[in-house]
Symmetry: C2
Subunit: 348 residues, 2 copies
């Protein structure tokens, strides 16, 4: 990100007809987008494109979710038919949706808005060993990079991450533990709805996954891209790897990427471990009800824009943040300065 | 608000293809809007109309703001010219803006989108006695009711409160103290930017205002519309009274009203004291950086949707919440049920 454009944006904000700093966090968002685009004012982050990366998880066999695995494929069909919450929210904010099958455990019919980049029929069980081979993780990263690049080439000026994968909050918790050095109990949540007994079991599964893959509890993985790739492959899902690639692709194109919830947060930790500057291209769309999400955002230094106890995934929290990001940038384009408007400035 | 429609909305939410409760606070918003409209699903809250009520304050003479009083009129001209942050945010979310002069201390040129309902050239100094006569307060309430009614008659299905008035956070703090029984220090903030010395002075002015009008510190006003009107007249601004009327007008028309910041929160306390059911028609758009705002929202039982440290006013925080409210309602119209989409429900 470009520090000169960011400084210019900060200065411009202070000339506009509003008390200095009175737009709070949105001023920081506008400054960040100036840095991403290396331009002041930054271009409007429109149109926006949501990519929902869908995949299944071997760890589902451990009984970490009350939902049958088939729901992943069924929800892909629901996205294609326009019936999911992500479709309604995308319509509300004017974003397009692209669904990318990177690892659904069933054959997914191709169709408008559904792209196949299937790498496997789900991951292996991360509680017994690596979820992915290194090659699979690289392929999923590459798919995410490619999708980001093609969405930007098609004219999109803001990307939004989305995910679909029953049991993917378990993989997210494991990733967050190893990338931040937190204990499983503090990074594991109830996902889309587990009872007390299943929750304790889920924490145990996360703990076993960390050990089975040769990591120590409460010790963060060593720095560097090789260690990051190995951790991502060991504990991630194919959608986590694809979203990490999607973030890297957005950064390479100097386009902001709005992160959705805990799956995106875990993926962003991997992306930032692979390329530390990637975090600067991310906007945290929201903070979900998953405890690991706050851990991931704090580690990344990102402040979420929406905080409404969502725990749905699909990109829904990211989509809701898009109008806020657009509003922050629009101020830079359209609001008059004190001088131009003939408004008296504060007496100092 | 209609409890039957609310119960229907709750039941409908649980049939949609999403984990139950996974839209968090937005599910409550959709249920509330069903109750307001007495219909499930409720109508989309579109188009939305922002009304910015502008007025000046005699208490400005006490040195409670670093901004000259002329800025109120200058900002009205800025709204009319399209140069303020409220204009940019309204454009972003597709809302119209109506500016209503209920008490600016200068003659404001009429023009497109600027309506005169001037009741006085500013209020009297509330630190020395009543800010308004009872008749003035009633006239301002009536103006707000009338504007709400005419905006709904013009087809708007969501109203948003806005305000402009240099020194109006001082009046807001005084109103919040007497309607909630809080101490001045806990309800008074730095507004659009006062230094430490001016902040202590501002707290003192709020304390003097409470005493000068015959109220006791840390004792809430007695219940009932007569006491509420007297308190509103004694300590409010003309825009506070107009916004209270605007809320009552929205409630009478069964249309939701999104509250902006601390000025709206203070006005909503007055509206709820005049007619307790009015609070049910309000959606708290955001929580501002002013400490009194959180006090007011807690008293009203409202949870804010946006929490980004805004402290600008004008309706900016209310406008930012509008896409969130629309998204919540859109889910009720467009998302498929588990049965219709062929998606398996959670195993219980």
């Amino acid at each position: 990100v470009d520090p000169v454009a960011m400084a210019e944006a900060r200065t411009h904000q202070d000339r506009l007809t509003k008390p200095r700093g009175s737009l709070g966090v949105l001023e920081d968002v506008a400054v960040r987008l100036a840095g991403i685009a290396a331009a002041c004012p930054p271009p409007m982050p429109e149109p926006a494109a949501l990519a929902i990366f869908a995949a299944d998880h071997g760890v589902h066999a451990q009984g970490v979710s009350p939902w049958p695995q088939e729901v992943t494929a069924q929800m892909v069909a629901n996205f294609a038919a326009g019936g999911a919450v992500a479709n309604a929210f995308a319509a509300q904010v004017g974003a397009s949706i692209t669904v990318v099958d990177v690892g659904v455990a069933a054959d997914v019919p191709a169709g408008p808005g559904v792209i196949s980049r299937k790498i496997a029929y789900g991951t292996a069980d991360l509680s017994e060993g690596p979820a992915m081979t290194l090659d699979q993780a690289v392929d999923a990263l590459s798919a995410g990079i490619e999708i980001a690049g093609s969405l930007v080439a098609a004219g999109n000026r803001c990307l939004v991450t989305g995910d679909m994968g029953i049991a993917n909050t378990t993989a997210s918790a494991a990733l967050i533990c190893v990338f931040t050095g937190r204990e499983p109990a503090s990074a594991t949540g109830r996902g889309t709805g587990v009872d007390d007994a299943m929750y304790q079991h889920k924490i145990d599964v996360v703990r076993r996954a960390i050990e089975a893959n040769g990591y120590e509890e409460a010790v963060a993985v060593p720095e560097g891209p090789d260690a990051a790739l190995r951790a991502l492959a060991a504990l991630g899902g194919l959608e986590h790897a694809a979203i990490a690639g999607f973030i890297l692709g957005a950064a390479a194109a100097r386009v902001p990427v709005i992160l959705d919830g805990v799956i995106a947060g875990a993926a962003a930790l991997a992306a930032a471990a692979l390329a530390p500057e990637a975090a600067g291209y991310c906007v945290a769309g929201h903070r979900s009800a998953e405890p690991g999400h706050a851990v991931a955002l704090a580690h990344l230094g990102l402040r979420p824009l929406v905080d409404l106890e969502l725990r749905l995934g699909e990109g829904t929290g990211g989509l809701l943040a898009h109008p806020l990001v657009s509003a922050a940038v629009r101020v830079m384009h359209e609001v008059a300065t004190f001088d131009a408007a003939g408004v008296a400035d504060k007496e100092r």
